[in-house]
Amino acid sequence: MTNFAPVSGLVGGALVGLSAVILMLTIGRIAGVSGIVLNAMTSSDAAGRSWRLAFVLGLPLGALLVTAVGLKDWSSISFPATMPTTVIAGFIVGVGSTFGLGCTSGHGICGLARFSMRSVAATVTFIATAAATVFVIRHMI
């Protein structure tokens, strides 16, 4: 059970948005995590890899920062899926976000914010299949 938390949700979401705006303003890039991770590994030029690696490194640092100032207690986090399911899920997320050219951040935030119809289609699709997957696991199996 998790308690509905609209205020921290709004504030946290606004920070994600601020990050996306900073990245576009400074270097003209979309804050889409899946593409950033893939291109951090595969980009042919060093500059293309370095800004992406810097961004990726920042993600856990941001998480640690929130913990350090006492706004987060890691013990409240739980990973309900089993180990094998988690591995399968990771692989599928990697394949799906690569073919779909984006994930929750790239399509769900950056793409929707610039009214991209491709991102609308992708976001509606992945929320629908994710909800269907949870329905099957929690209510049918």
Binding site: S19, A20, A54, L57, S76, T129, A130
Partner: protein, 147 residues
């Protein structure tokens, strides 16, 4: 200089995911469980993110170019095609299986939880396999974007 802004953007992004508890797979799964223990928090996270990004992008795009660079790198493709919808559908299945998507997975590395390490490793393998496969299928297509 631009690298400082990349890491800053990453830190703020990770902090936002943590503060909003999107780093907690249990909360994400409860959002997706519409027929059960539904938790609408994620809607507020998206609302906060979209409000700032929609407005912020509008202001940023008034400039002709980013501060450090000559152009904004945006997806130019408009067509809603099979790779987009099929990939998104697959992505959703993986997201629903564990309640973890790429941003929170990387932020959660801070916990050193074995499940997160395995999720990220499997995700990287999936990305590399899929991109090699995609490049073979569409050698002529320009694949741009960090979408």
């Amino acid at each position: 200089m631009p690298l400082i802004f990349s890491i800053l953007a990453g830190v703020i992004f990770g902090a936002g995911l943590t503060l909003s508890d999107m780093v907690n797979p249990a909360r994400v799964l409860n959002f997706l469980d519409v027929a059960g223990s539904w938790d609408p928090t994620l809607i507020f996270v998206m609302a906060g993110g979209l409000a700032v990004t929609t407005l912020g992008y509008r202001l940023v795009f008034r400039r002709g170019s980013p501060v450090f660079g000559d152009k904004f790198n945006l997806q130019t493709q408009r067509q809603i095609d099979l790779p987009l919808v099929g990939g998104a559908a697959l992505f959703g299945v993986g997201w629903g299986l564990a309640g973890i998507c790429p941003g929170p997975a990387l932020a959660d590395l801070a916990t050193l939880e074995p499940k997160v390490l395995l999720f990220v490793a499997a995700m990287l393998v999936g990305m590399i396999v899929a991109s090699a496969w995609r490049d073979r299928m569409w050698t002529a297509t320009e694949v741009n974007s960090d979408l």
